[in-house]
């Protein structure tokens, strides 16, 4: 098949954009550690409440301005659902679900992850700006899905 010369130029430019976007994505993922949440750990979905660390959900200070939030999701709420951390804190959310699939999104940030039964999901965010952040479930999980939310207060 013979391509028109302009068409060749167009396709080369188009493919160039695609390759460039891949290079940027790859650089961010592998060099800057900004990859998408991809925890591969597993858990028995019927024994969440008796499996560490989810037998004791809560906010834990694990280092200088470093926090871990151990969180369980269930229809229709987050446990814990009122989180307080100081400004500049690096917060790692370690989550699993007790029932169906839920979403975990902090509005106004890039924190966004699926929380699936049988899996543990981890995502980290540094909160520089003080204020109240809204956490919401962004995967339909039942009749009360629209009520499923929590807050993070950054002092």
């Amino acid at each position: 098949m013979k391509l028109h010369r302009y068409e060749e130029i167009w396709l080369i430019l188009g493919v160039g954009i695609l390759v460039l976007s891949m290079v940027i994505t790859g650089y961010q993922t592998f060099a800057q550690g900004m990859g998408p949440p991809s925890d591969t750990a597993q858990i028995d979905p019927q024994k969440v409440n008796e499996t560490a660390p989810f037998d004791n959900p809560g906010v834990f200070e694990v280092g200088e301005n470093e926090y871990e939030v151990v969180m369980t999701l269930q229809a229709f709420g987050f446990t814990p659902n009122e989180i307080e951390v100081p400004a500049g804190a690096e917060v790692t959310f370690i989550m699993t679900t007790e029932d169906v699939i839920h979403g975990f999104q902090i509005a106004g940030t890039n924190v966004n992850a699926m929380v699936v039964p049988g899996r543990i999901q981890t995502i980290t965010e540094t909160f520089d700006e003080p204020g109240e952040y809204l956490i919401l479930c962004n995967e339909y999980c039942g009749a009360g899905h629209q009520m499923m939310s929590a807050t993070i207060t950054v002092h």
Binding site: D44, P45, V100, N112, E132, L134, L136
Partner: protein, 557 residues
């Protein structure tokens, strides 16, 4: 045999369409537009509810409405339209459907209708409020899943019909290339077949689980099998859409095909590259490594390549045709296009909409950008721009000549004008609705969520003005649905008798015949299977072998 065929083709051309084939397609279209009306009404209810303007009753709540809206429009409307359209295309370009295939078309319709009734009944009874993605461990009534199986079997019967008719034509026309529009039909249905295998396996495992015969379900496996289908389906409609762009639109503007060979290469690439594209719905899922997700960025982006070829081809046809008509300068050809002809206007707006829609698709394929918009209303906006505008406006555009062609009627200037009003209403409605969805999605507003302010949370309250625009757009779209349904039934039963051609563009005089290798379907099937395996073999084996304990069922609605 050959002489007999030519005779048959000649009579077909003289008398127009075979009335038996026309009846089949018109039945499909009638049902498709009834479904569009019901689905569109549900869409309006949703838009008004989401903006906080309408409270839905408990016996028919937001999520039931959303489930029905999604299934009716995404699965049923599009499947009915696609089968009706491609069967008409085969009937026209292959000299009539063979009687066995016509029968298959009717059987397919019956299976799909049984499936639709089962699915809709369980949703209305609130036994299957699981949305069109029906993610386990949310468990619907087993009859919901059985209904889905009927729909898939219907689609597969129609697929087999397409392959049978194409093979029979090839046997009767040794050495000839399958006419381009039928070539598109074979490609689109082949992709539909590949895409629906995963979801069929998923649903077949969900049925015994829903009856209680098996206790638990592998959630991630189900989800992954679903998405191998979910996004492929979108590309099957897109496939249907561009078949009209390549073959019909050039004729409507008084031009020729851009390149028969290039169109066939695009068909082949779409079949081979598409299925792993669905993985980008799982970019923020647990259980997959970053390396695997990165490989899928490449696999998803590769789908953009044939679309880039299409973009070039379309604008090249416009320019070439315009220049032949005496257009001067860089953009003079724009003025030579028949903007007042709705048969052109609707697919043209569809193409223009695909520029931002495709760009948005490329953007969210990239892992980190996806994370910003995943499961937000941005996605719903993207979907309504690609499917709701690009695909559906092209489908509408096809109606203005295909129905009169089949019913031996004519498109009157009055209906043409009403069609232009319809097209503009639809476009403005989508601009408002999809535009507002994109924007508020970037701000964090989630999709698939009924009206809520999360206890008057300040962030959530900021989204309300955008949601109001969403409702305005939804209302305009509902007006668009009513106009379109009226137009379709007017063209079927009321329009004056006459002759309307099936507008197939001819190749340029100096065009070369497409090379033989374009017809080597065996090779394309093998390549497609190789690409699907590359995308899915490793993750699926891992999800099966290395599975966590399964999940019991939940009914959370």
């Amino acid at each position: 045999m050959a002489a007999k065929e030519t005779f048959k083709e000649k009579t077909n051309k003289a008398l127009g369409v075979n009335p038996d084939d026309a009846r089949l397609t018109l039945t499909y279209f009638s049902l498709a537009f009834i479904v569009l009306f019901i689905g569109g009404t549900l869409g309006l209810l949703q838009g008004l509810n989401r903006a906080g303007l309408l409270e839905l009753p408990a016996w028919f709540n937001y999520y039931q409405v959303l489930t029905a809206h999604g299934i009716l429009l995404i699965l049923i409307f599009t499947a009915l339209f696609m089968v009706g359209y491609f069967y008409a295309a085969m009937s026209h370009t292959l000299g009539g459907l063979i009687s066995k295939v016509r029968k298959m078309g009717w059987i397919a319709l019956g299976l799909m209708l049984i499936g639709t009734v089962l699915v809709v009944t369980t949703v209305v009874m609130d036994k299957a409020t699981v949305l069109y993605t029906f993610y386990p461990p949310m468990q619907a009534s087993p009859w919901f899943y059985i209904g889905l199986v009927f729909i898939v079997f219907g689609v597969w019967t129609a697929t087999l019909g397409v392959f049978t008719n194409a093979a029979s034509w090839k046997k009767r026309n040794k050495g000839k290339h399958l006419p381009l529009l039928s070539f598109f039909a074979v490609g689109a249905f082949l992709l539909l077949l590949f895409g629906s295998i995963g979801v069929t396996i998923e649903v077949l495992t969900l049925i015994p689980w829903a009856f209680g015969w098996t206790e638990t379900v592998n959630v991630m496996l189900s989800r992954t099998l679903f998405w191998s289908f979910g996004h492929t389906l979108v590309n099957v409609w897109y496939f249907t859409t561009i078949s009209a762009w390549y073959v019909i639109v050039p004729r409507l503007i008084g031009g020729r095909l851009f390149s028969d060979t290039l169109a066939r290469v695009v068909v082949i690439l779409l079949v081979i590259l598409n299925v792993p594209g669905g993985f980008h719905h799982q970019i923020v899922d647990p259980g997959f490594t970053e390396g695997l997700k990165f490989m899928h960025v490449f696999m998803s982006l590769s789908i953009a390549f044939p679309s880039l070829m299409t973009a070039f081809a379309m604008f090249a046809v416009f320019e070439r045709t315009g220049r032949k008509k005496g257009a001067k300068g860089l953009l003079g050809w724009v003025k030579k296009l028949p903007w007042g002809d709705v048969r052109f206007l609707a697919p043209m707006i569809a193409m223009i909409a695909f520029i931002p829609a495709g760009a948005g698709g490329i953007a969210q394929t990239n892992n980190q950008l996806n994370q910003v918009v995943h499961n937000s209303l941005w996605i719903t906006g993207h979907f309504h721009l690609t499917v709701g505008t690009t695909v559906v406006l092209t489908f509408f555009g096809i109606m203005y000549w295909l129905i009169p062609h089949l019913t031996k009627r004519e498109l009157t200037p009055k209906i043409n004008k009403l069609g232009i009003i319809q097209t503009i209403t639809w476009t403005v409605g989508m601009l408002f609705m999809a535009g507002a969805m994109h924007w508020v999605g970037l701000l964090g507003s989630p999709r698939r969520t009924s009206y809520t302010t999360y206890g008057d949370n300040a962030t959530a309250l900021d989204w309300d003005p955008y949601l109001f625009f969403l409702a305005i757009g939804g209302t305009l779209l509902f007006i668009g649905v009513i106009l379109m349904v009226y137009i379709v039934f007017h063209l079927m039963f009321k329009a004056p008798k006459g002759n309307t051609v099936f507008p197939i563009a001819q190749p340029e005089d100096d065009a070369s015949t497409p090379p033989k290798w374009t017809e080597r379907w065996g090779l394309w099937v093998v390549l497609a299977i190789a690409v699907i395996s590359m995308g899915y073999l490793v993750p699926i084996v891992d999800l099966v072998v290395n599975a966590p304990p399964g999940s019991p069922p939940f009914q959370t609605w």
